[in-house]
Amino acid sequence: MYRSAADLNATKERLRPVLEERLQEGQLAMPTQVLVCTGVGCLSAGSQEVMAALKREIKSRGLNVTVTHTGCYGYCKMGPLLLVYPGGVFYRQVSPGDAPRLVQQHLAGGEPVENLLYREPGREPVLFVGDVPFFRKQMRVVLANAGLINPEDIEEYIARDGYAALSRVLAEYSPEEVIDVVTRSGLRGRGGAGFSTGKKWAFTREAKAHPKYIVCNADEGDPGAFMDRAILEGDPHGVLEGMLIAGYAVGASEGWVYVRAEYPLAVRRLEIAVRQARHAGLLGKNILGSGFSFDIDLCLGAGAFVCGEETALLRSAMGERGEPRPRPPYPAEAGLWGKPTVINNVETLANIPLILRRGWEWFAAIGTERSKGTKIFSIAGQINNTGLIEVPMGTSLRTIVYDIGGGVPAGRNLKAVQTGGPSGGCVPAELLDVPVDYESLAELGTIMGSGGLIVLDESNCMVDITRFYLDFAGEESCGQCTPCRVGVQRMVEILDRITGGRAREEDLRELEDLAHDVKETSLCGLGQTAPNVVLSTLRYFRPEYLAHIRERRCPAGVCKQLLC
């Protein structure tokens, strides 16, 4: 039970030696700790079995080495991953069969096992994690704990200054001061739209009705995006602390995490985190003796993309069909059960404790003029290093795809990067130097979105990809408004004609007109953004559309009906 800042500090001091060892990188020393990644990628590659084998070997040799499981390191392609500390020796693609050698040679003998180290073709193996190219250009701030601490142990979070921001806020800040710090930091919503988080909180604070609620939107529905999942699985307490601070700032005493049922591991780790926080007195009544009370519960999303839209999410959280409604009123005035509600995305909330702990000046110094801080991206598709990365806002797509992502698989050329999921568009290869920030991407006809980047190469047909996204939007449309329900379907039909070799050139004009109509007249974000992919591919890849129509040919060789 933590009753004061001093209690938190005592835990921190007690665990300090263990955690500090994990931060000593770049120098070989006798191993005392092994960290094993248990993100989804590594788990399904067998990290659980690797961990068990290591523990067995260590025990049978009577070594004094601990094995801890952590959240996702992000380099999913190379799983199962493990790190040996002090030093930070990075092993990849480890199998249970490697355990005896690893234990004998490295853990007992101090000599790293060379063939399990990361190595680029024709180069020397890389010993330390910090020297692996995938990590070198990253700036892991929000993800700093993912891969470093055991996400199922609140004490390890506290040892990393966890709940220190909350403790300080409760003791030293007025709610208005908290909102002021968040506003000054320039933090904008990481779920897609990029609205100022501080302003959102201020509106909710000003609303007259009571009680007020904090909702964490963890309904990461964009296909190809898994940032929120990694945060929830790797550092769930960071999100809870963000919600607590939000609750204090706006005057709420209840919070809900709306999380997808498709993420069972994230749900489990969240449940554990909530239970531990309650047990520690960091959720519940009179937190840290401040008089502030706040509790958090989970609400499972049952699988509907539209529920990522805030008004739909609210209806779903209330047990109904997740159908959006027109705004205003905004949730800040009338949200959960009609009361003022803050809805923030997972990544947004995970930034909050960092901003309060390190100061808004620190945060505002990262990124570009209007897009502050870092952004987490998931990179997947036709790329060598698939996984999860965190970079400062304003990093170019080229740096992400080539320096961090290792480029597209050998022998093929990059064609485009799709950003923003079904609400976004495609950036063609020739515009790859664009800095990734809210405004620059909007200028190109796409959006930052939640951070899913899908890399496409010559083997992908842009018309087919467009059809895929629109078909998705059509299936996920809630059906309330005509532009989205009917308009998207008509666009899918035109795209069917194009990929099927039955289209005329006039179809392109109709497609474009329809796209504008649906964008301007749909009820909610789903319909308003679904045409982005059509408009952006028509803008950058019109010749590919024309090849399908005029020559009945699919340049990428994807559209089967045009193959014979």
């Binding site: 190809g224 069972p264 509907a304 698939t386």
Partner: protein, 188 residues
């Protein structure tokens, strides 16, 4: 189709009753109750929907409306091995469509269907967030990444082997398999 022992069925309804009692009237309760019902019965049959409606004093159409809005809820019984093909973008660009077609051929059923013996069912899923392993499928609660046509055939074959083995070991007087829990797929 339902070969469960009556006692199991009755016990499940009793558990559901308690759950309804706890969540009825609470905002947000219905979705939670449906989650529980599906966990207990494997799927939300018309009978279960009607039961929940009566217990909650709501029209069945309301329950049906909510149950069919969300892709997690299924209204037909799944196979003992429920196979899901992820159709997220990363999987799509890595040929998830071919994976689905191959599974349809291997199992002889279309997506959304169950094999006549109740062993396999096949469906597509939304993005599972395991994009770095694409293309991805799930077998019940387990995730299998970087699937290839060979790997698929192998997975199906191993599930079938387990089934045959269980069939042989089954004591003659017991009628039908106990279907309280869905089976975990055999390990590699």
């Amino acid at each position: 189709m339902d070969r469960r022992q009556p006692s199991v069925q009755q016990r499940n309804y009793l558990i559901l009753d308690k759950f309804v009692e706890r969540y009825r009237g609470r905002p947000g309760g219905l979705v939670r109750i449906l989650f529980k019902a599906q966990e207990l019965f494997g799927h939300l049959s018309p009978e279960v929907q009607a039961y929940v409606a009566e217990k909650m004093d709501l029209p069945v159409s309301h329950i049906y409306g909510v149950a069919t809005f969300y892709s997690h809820f299924i209204t037909r019984p799944p196979g003992k091995y429920s196979i899901g093909v992820c159709t997220g973008t990363a999987c799509y660009v890595k040929n998830a469509q071919t994976v689905l077609e191959r599974l349809q051929t291997l199992l002889g059923i279309k997506k959304g269907d169950t094999t006549p013996d109740g062993t396999f069912s096949l469906r597509t899923t939304r993005c599972l967030g395991a994009c770095s392993l694409s293309p991805v499928i799930t077998v019940n609660d387990d995730l299998v990444g970087e699937v290839t046509p060979d790997k698929l055939a192998d997975i199906i074959r191993r599930c079938r082997e387990v089934e045959t083995k269980e069939e042989k070991e089954r004591v003659p007087e017991r009628r039908g398999p106990q279907r309280d829990e869905r089976a975990a797929p055999p390990g590699p």
